[in-house]
Subunit: 218 residues, 2 copies
């Protein structure tokens, strides 16, 4: 237990007015995972009725809906609620970030790099992810370049997030469980999934330019 | 004049071992601008002998050569020389960053967000910019998506740079001249130029997908 009655590391982190967590890990994870599964299933089923969409496109729509809503609904409240850890009547989203801060206390400490990356993610990448759901469904010509752009933003954000943590001392977690489950585990989805989608979109774009070149050469 | 004999703001910034600037502003700017003009002219002239390259493509090659070399040669040394401000025999690049720090003391203070953005810029975007020179010259099918990717990286970096400065107190310059000339002026080139190039590449990519769609519909 650190100073000011908070559970975070490092113990000398100063958090005047900290209000202890009221929800358990299960009470926080279950609604988030439950809602996510519901969203993914709903997008999967609805996209199946659109006709002509490949399974890969439908899977991508599920991913973009999930990640877009996470950026807006989960990361958005963190960005715009600087006092979330001292609210007397915390809501679900305040509790999410008090729990996550066990894996990275820069959240509760309002570290500038962390708030900046979360701000860009919530305000720009969140809406852009939802636009990607629409772009895939309606086969827009900007579908691949949009998906590529959002993926690159997510990857750049993760790079800043991890490198800044390293430069700032790499001591923001309560213990190995929170380091691996929250700091590494939860964030890893925003590394390998955007990497795979970015490579796919890059290849599709190159292939289209290649086909155009061939057509012009004929 | 701040603490430890340094000229930076805020005055309470602690910089033990600081070695004062030995070059004047002119002695720092002239070689950088001179070399940049030389590089741009050289790329312009050589690209004119390649044949078939439009003036826009040649201009873009000049820009990518200039920005790539700036990322690698100017920003690279900053990233990998943490003690640049205390070196007894500073080289040109150490002096560049001691001068620039008058417009943003987070450089000399080794602020994590600033070093992170500069690191990504020097290590990833620098070589990628030089690759863009080659990609344009040899009309590679990945030319537009590569240029778009580097532009997005530069824009994301500028966003982090400015937003983190705002969140951290926005008090890192010696006075209005250094704020406008260094912090705003010098960085503005990495906002409006990447914005223009990114929009151009986005449009080219969409047009190519549109043309493919039309061809398939025929």
């Amino acid at each position: 237990m650190g100073g000011d009655g908070h559970p975070y590391a490092p113990a000398d982190l100063h958090l005047p007015g900290f209000v202890p967590l009221q929800l358990s890990q299960g009470q926080i994870l279950a609604p988030y995972l439950g809602t996510s599964v519901f969203v993914v299933l709903a997008v999967w089923l609805v996209s199946g009725r659109c006709g002509r969409l490949s399974k890969t496109d439908r899977l991508l729509m599920c991913q973009w809906a999930f990640t877009g809503l996470t950026h807006i609904m989960i990361e958005g409240p963190f960005v715009f609620t600087p006092d979330f850890f001292k609210k007397e009547n915390p809501n679900f989203f305040d509790e999410v970030w008090k729990e996550y801060s066990k894996g990275d206390s820069r959240y509760v400490a309002r570290d500038a790099a962390t708030v900046t990356v979360e701000g860009i993610t919530a305000v720009l990448e969140g809406p852009a992810s939802l636009l990607a759901v629409y772009a895939i469904a309606s086969r827009k010509s900007f579908s691949h370049i949009l998906q590529f752009a959002v993926c690159l933003g997510q990857l750049y954000g993760c790079l800043v997030y991890f490198i800044a943590a390293y430069l700032d001392g790499f001591n923001f977690w309560v213990g190995p469980f929170y380091f691996w489950a929250y700091f590494i585990g939860a964030n890893s989805f925003w590394i390998w999934i955007p990497t795979l989608i970015a490579i796919r979109s890059w290849k599709k774009i190159c292939a289209t330019f290649q086909a155009e070149k061939m057509a012009n050469a004929e």
